[in-house]
Amino acid sequence: MSTAYTYKPWYEERWKDNWVPEEVAVDCYSTFACRHKFCREVCPVYQETGNEGHSSYSFHVSLLSVARGYSKLRELGDTFTYCLQCGACQLRCPTTLFTGDFYKITNEHNVLVTKTRKELIDLGFKFKGADGMIDNLTKVVNDTDAGKLPVAEWAKDLNLPETGEVILFVDYFMATQMTNILRLVATVLKKAGVDFGIVKDPKPVFTYELDYLGEKGVAYAKHNLETLKKTGAKKVIVPDPHVFVSLTKEYPRLLKEDPPFDVVYVTDFVAELIREGKLKPEKPVKKKVTYHDSCMLNKVSGIWNSPREILNSIPGIEFIDEDHVSQWYYCCGNGASEVRSFKTLHEDLSYRIGLKRLRRALDLEVTTLALTCPHCNEQFSEVKVKSNLNIEIIDVFELLADSLGLR
C-alpha cells in the first residue's frame, strides 16, 4: 500500500451554517487553485448526470463559497449525496499525483464528503435520503448490539482458533451475506497449509461511514483493533476491500494509532502462495473472463495486480483484461458504503452506473466478470437480474477453488 495518503485531522472542529474552519477553506482553495477539473471527467456520477456540481472540484468550491460568505451549508441541498466515495477524483487530482509524496498533501475528497454529510445532518439540514442512509446504519448497529448477527456461524465447522500469527478478518457483511465466498477463501488458505485464526465477534467497520455514528463508531473501531491485538496477529488477511480501507486508513486516522500488525489484502497473500508453489491451480476452467477492479482496492489502496495474477495462473481461462487505470472511470454503482448508502440516495443512478460497467465488460465479448469484492458482487448480481444481461458474475476465489479442485 502507498504511504502517500496521509489523512488530515479536520474532523475535530464542528462547522456552522455560515462557517467552515480555515483549514478546510484552504484545502478547498487548493482544488479551486488547480481549476483543471480532471476529477470531473473521471467521476462515474458526473459521467451519468453531466452536472458539473457533482464533481470533486465543485464540492470543494461550494464549501469555499460558504467560507467566503456567498453561500450557506443549508443551501447545499442534496449536492453532497452525488458521490460514491469511489476515490477516482482524489487519485486523479494533480495535487495527489504530483505533490502527494513530496509535501504529504493529497486531495482527501472522501473524507471531506463524509465530514460534510455529517455536519449537515448534525446541524439539522437533512438532505434527501439522509434518514434512509442513517436507518441502514442504525439497523446494523442495533442488530450487532443485540447479538442478532451470526458473525461467527460461517466458520463453526472449520475449527479455526482465535489466536495466531495470521488472522483472517471480516466484519458482519461478508460473514453473514457472502458466506460461500468467505468459506472458499478459508478452504484455499487451508489447502496451502496456512495456519490462521479468526475473530469471532467483529464489529461492523462501515468504512467512511463510521463517523456518522460518533462515539459508537470509535468504540467499534477500538473493539476491532484491540481484539486483533489480542490475537497476537502479525499479519491480518482481509478479503473485503471495504474492511481493508478501514484497517489501513480509517482506523489510524480515527484512533490516531497505527496497528501493530501488517494488513494484507487476501489476493496479495494468495498470489504470493501461488508464486511460492504452495497452491497449484491445475484444473482447467474454460471461461472467457474480464476483471472488475474494486474501487476500494484499485483507486483507494493501489491494489490491482494480484487479482489479475491469480486469474492468469488458472489454466483454461481466456483472460481479456481492461487495465486498472481505464477502470478509474468505473464503479459498480455501490460506492464505498457497506450499507448501500448510494443506492439508498440514488437508486436509479446507482443502477445506471452498474449497468454501464456490465455493458463495458460485454463489449469485450466475455462470458464472465470476475471480481474480488463482496459489495461489487452484491451490486452486480442485482444489476444483472434487473437488466437481464447475459453475463456471469463470479468471485476470483470461486474460479481459483474450481481450478484447485476444491468445490
Partner: protein, 506 residues
Amino acid sequence: MTYVMSYRKVDGYVIERLAKIVGDANVLTLPHERFIRAASAAPFPLHRWDDHAPDVVVLPGSTEEVAEVLKLANELRIPVVPRAAGTGLADGAVPLKKGIVVDIKRMKNILEIDEENMCVTVQTGICNNTLNLELNKRGYWWPFDPASYPCSIIGGNMGTSAWSLIGGVSGHIRDLVRSFVHVLPTGKVITVGEGGGRKISKSSTGYTLKHLFFGHQGTLGITTEATLEMFPKPEVEFPAFFGYRSFMDAWKNALKMAKSGLRTMATHIMFDEWKVEALRRDDEAYIPLPEHIKAVIATCFYGTEAEVKGASERIFEIAAKDGGIYLGEELSEGDWASRHDRYHIAYHGRHTDGQVGTYSWHCEDAAVNYSAIPYVREKWHALVAEYKQKYDVFDDMGGFYYNNNPFKQWGDYLTEIDVFIDEYHLTEELWQKWVELKRKIAEVVLEVGGSISACHGGTRPGDVELVVGKELDPGVYEVMKMIKRNLDPNNIMNPGKYLLDSAYEG
C-alpha cells in the same frame, strides 16, 4: 452618445420559462451552483466572486433546447454566457454581467462514427479524452491535445480557438472541424462548414465563415454539434527529451529541428532556465536533471514504425549539433505521459522567503516569432521578478516555447510564462497589480510584432484593451463590431467580452 445597456433581471417568471424549456431539474438557482460556475481557469478575483456569479444556470440537452433558451433571452434581453469545461484561460466563460449560464455538459453524445469518410459527429459537450476512449477501441484517434486534454470540451475548444500540443502533425481545433451546428444569438440554428456538405474538408463555394465561429469567446452564439476529423491511430508515439548547457544553445538547436523536414514530428518545445530551475524545486515531483542542464527541448513523434524510426535517428543527430544530450527513456516518456497534469498544481509557488504559499498556477501565452524569443524571454522574467520582489504574491514558474504551427515546425512559437499567484490572499489593490503586470507582459509581445495570445484568447483585463486598441488593425475591429451587432442585435451573448458593447454605441 453612449448606448446604455439595460438587461432584464432574472426573476421567477424567467426561471419558470427556462424550466419549461429544459425541465425543472436542469435549472439551477442555488448559490453554490452559481458560484462554482463563476470562474474559468485564469486568475480569478476571489475577493469579488459575487461580480461574476450568474443569476441562474441551465443544463440543456439538445440543440433545440439551446435555441429556445437563446430565443427567450433575446426576447427578454438577458445576458447569456456559454460554459463548457470552464478550463479556458481567457475568461470566456466568466460572466461579466450575470444573467444565464448555459452549461453544455449534458450534451455529450457521440452521434456518428463514419469509418469510410473518417469523421466523427458529436454533441459539443463531449470531453476530448472521452471521445478518444471510444475511438481508440476502434483503432481511431482524435488528434487534438490541448493542455486541458483530460477534461476540456469540444464546444469550449471551438469557442476559444484552442491550440493543440501536437498541432505539428494534426493541426489545431480550427483545422480539425469539418462542419458544425451553431445557434445564433437570436436562436436561429445554422449549419456551418466548407460549402454545404457536413463532411466536406475543403470547398470553394460561398464565403468561408467557418473560422468566424472559432475564438469568438461565446459572443456569437453556442455551437451544439460538430463533425470532426478522425485519424487512424498511429503505430508509434515516440517522445525524446534533450538537455542543453544554456537556453541559447537550445534556441539555436530549435531552428535546426524546425527546418529538419521531419513530418512525423508533432512538436518541439523549449524549457528555459527558469522552468528547469522551478522543476528542480520539487525533486520528487520531477525526475532530477543533472546540474549542468540549464534548458531542455522536448520533441515527440507520431507515425508508422518505419517513419518514426528514421526520424528518431535524425533528431538525435540534430540535437547533438548544439550539445543536446538525450535525457533518457524514463524522463522522456514519463514527462510526456504526464504533460497535461504536471504544471498547474497548488503548493509549488514560493514566497520570497522560500516558503510554500497558497498559489494558483497560471500561464500567460503569446504567439512570438522565432527570432524574437530571446528578447521576450528576458523581458518577461525581469517583469515577474520585479513584481514578485515588490508584492510577494507572484512567483515565476519559468517559460515554455512550443512550436505554434499547424502541420509544420517553423515560424512562430507559443511563448508562455507560468506565473503563480496567491489568489487566496488577493486584495483589490494586489489584483490591480496583477492586471498591470499582465498588461506589461502583453506589451512586450506587441513590441516585437507578435500576438497577445496563441491559444487562450485576448478577453481578460490587461489583455483586452491592448488587443482591441493596439494589436488588431482598427478596420478589423470595426468589422468585428459590425458582425457582432448584426448577429446579436440585443447584445445578449456574453456581453462585455472584447469590449464589444462599443458596437452598440451611437
